[in-house]
Each structure stands twice: as C-alpha cells, then as structure tokens.
Symmetry: C2
Subunit: 83 residues, 2 copies
C-alpha cells in the first residue's frame, strides 16, 4: 500500500495560557529582540499507509482529533503530501 507523509500542526487556542512560550518570549525581549508574543505548539510529522490521499487525510485527521491534539485546548491542521 502506498505511503504518505503528513504533518499535523497543533497550536494552543488563543485564550489558553502558554507559560513556556511566555518565559521564552521574556528571555528574548530581555536580550533586546522586539518581540510581541511567542507561543509554542507542536509540529508532528508521520508516515501512514493508505490507498490514496483522501484515505490518508481521513486517517491522520482521526489520529489528530482523537489522540495527538486536545481539541478542548488546541487547534490542529493536517497536511498530507501526495505519495
């Protein structure tokens, strides 16, 4: 079965606190960088076997929704590269 590379990008929703991002942003500001805001999300790369791109997107979307992201606090985007 063909393999597809996919990327799942996960960001915290805007109203969820991000202490690690805030701390990192403060350090950069103290070093003199003209930074307004910094948020840290996840960039998950994976390879799935699927019959076609549509099935790969469905599978990766399911994994993202049910296991990789926390839909209460996070938003996610799925990108599947054509095999």
């Amino acid at each position: 079965m063909p393999q597809f590379e996919a990327v799942v990008t996960i960001e915290l929703k805007p109203d969820i606190l991000d202490p690690a991002g805030e701390a990192t942003g403060h350090v950069l500001q103290q070093l003199g960088y003209p930074l307004e805001q910094l948020r840290i999300g996840r960039h998950i790369t994976l390879t799935v076997q699927a019959a076609d791109v549509a099935q790969a997107e469905r599978l990766v979307g399911e994994m993202a929704q049910n296991l990789l992201a926390n839909p209460v606090m996070e938003t996610y985007q799925v990108q599947v590269k054509a095999g």
Copy 2:
C-alpha cells in the same frame, strides 16, 4: 514600526532519538493505525517589530539559531508573513 508574524518550525535531526514520538507512534499502531513513523517537533509562532520583511526574517533567524532551536540536534525553518 510594522509588525510581522513569523513561524519557526523545529524538527529533530533524523539520527536523534525521539522517545516521545516513538511512544506516541506505538500507541497509534496498537490502536490499529497503519503508521510507519512519528516524530514530534515544535511549531513556534511569534510577532516581531521590524522595518521590513527582510529585517524580520533576519531577526527571527537569529532567534531561531541562537535560542529557539538547538542546531546540534535540530533543524529549523523560518517563515515570515508579509506584514
């Protein structure tokens, strides 16, 4: 001064172990997903003040190289959105 949104995508180099990614991949495989490999990187979004896109790219590149990524173990990509 104009503000620019930027994204820094950080991935572990291929020969660096990723225990969290491996554990997540195993769980998904045990749930029946036809997964080959899964790696977890970071997706950092930030806003900087700069005179133009070129300066914003330079600033964000510096931050990524010196502070956000660990260039020994990680690779990074910088994308600045036109203000």
